[in-house]
């Protein structure tokens, strides 16, 4: 059983990293701070599967909710608008 590093409600920051190759974290959200909404499950790491490897150990996947105004400078909609992005644990850092 994979231990989960985060729980719903935890504040997290997306790593501001730009590794080459197949990654599943959109550029636009790197460096942004959001809140774990729920745990989506534990999945073989797609960033490894892409190269024909087994993707093990599997990694926890979180649904992380961000305020649109946190993600986009000059977001035009209401302050309550959000975007939920599915992010693997190794892309997240704790944020207090």
């Amino acid at each position: 059983m994979t231990a989960l590093r985060y729980s719903p409600g935890d504040k997290v920051q997306v790593r501001e990293a730009y590794p080459p190759g197949h990654v599943r974290t959109p550029h636009f959200v790197r460096g942004c701070t959001g809140e774990v909404q729920e745990i989506a499950g534990v999945f073989p790491n797609p960033e490894e599967l892409a190269y024909g490897r087994d993707g093990l150990p599997s990694v926890p996947l979180y649904r992380v909710v961000f305020k649109q105004s946190e993600v986009w400078d000059g977001y035009e909609g209401p302050a309550a608008d959000t975007v939920v992005i599915d992010l693997y644990e190794h892309w997240l850092e704790p944020r207090t």
Binding site: F28, R63, W72, T82, V84, L87
Partner: protein, 211 residues
């Protein structure tokens, strides 16, 4: 490079005869041939998978959503575990998890895959071309209200627009809200109000006046 493998490329019958192959089509064909040649699956298994995919259509998702409108306990089960709930009504959604998200008075949900074109195919079939376009994939996440307006959908400012980016292992199905004026409608009739686009979240379900 020598062309020393033995199979014959000359009997290939293209799917589309009226246009020259694009590079992408050549690449797709080459991958399909390699998959078969390496014995990963047979040509017939490939064909069956395409046939299965083509048999999926929005009517499946509509049937599921209509039942959530008349059966609150079923809706809870759909929100909890979509695959299991779909199986109750004879729909097999396969191995890729689909998460249902519910539109409410306070939240309007819309789905995009910014990295590629992930889509709940097993419940609503193949995605429309616009869903795969770079324009939709980049704009739906950045200016969702503007994109929704272009679909004819106005979301009032007191309703949160929540964009779901299916970047990973989940696919998303929006449960549109049940329209007013349908209190005495049965599931079959309700299902006619539930369109593909409403399950992606770019429109609400049709109103009874539209049918």
């Amino acid at each position: 490079m020598s062309h020393d493998h033995t199979h014959d490329h000359t009997d290939y019958q293209p799917d589309i005869e009226d246009f020259p192959f694009t590079d992408r089509m050549v690449m797709t064909q080459a991958i399909a041939e390699l998959i078969v040649e390496k014995g990963i699956c047979t040509a017939d298994e490939l064909r069956q998978q395409i046939e299965l995919m083509d048999s999926k259509e929005p009517a499946l998702g509509a049937r599921l959503v209509a039942k959530t409108w008349v059966d609150p306990e079923f809706k809870s089960r759909v929100l909890e575990d979509c695959a299991k709930a779909a199986a109750e009504i004879g729909i097999d959604i396969g191995d890729i998890p689909i998460k249902a998200i519910e539109n409410t008075e306070d939240v309007h949900n819309v789905v995009v895959c910014t990295l590629c074109s992930c889509y709940p195919r097993m419940l609503i079939g193949l995605p429309p071309d616009w869903y795969k376009s770079r324009a939709y994939r980049s704009r739906a996440v950045k200016e969702p209200r503007k994109v929704l307006e272009e679909f004819g959908t106005h979301i009032p400012d007191n309703v949160e627009v929540r964009v779901h980016d299916s970047t990973a292992d989940l696919r998303y199905l929006v449960l549109p809200a049940r329209p007013d004026g349908t209190a005495d409608w049965d599931e079959r009739k309700l299902a006619q109000l539930i369109t593909r686009d409403s399950m992606v979240g770019v429109t609400p379900a049709k109103s009874p006046d539209d049918t």
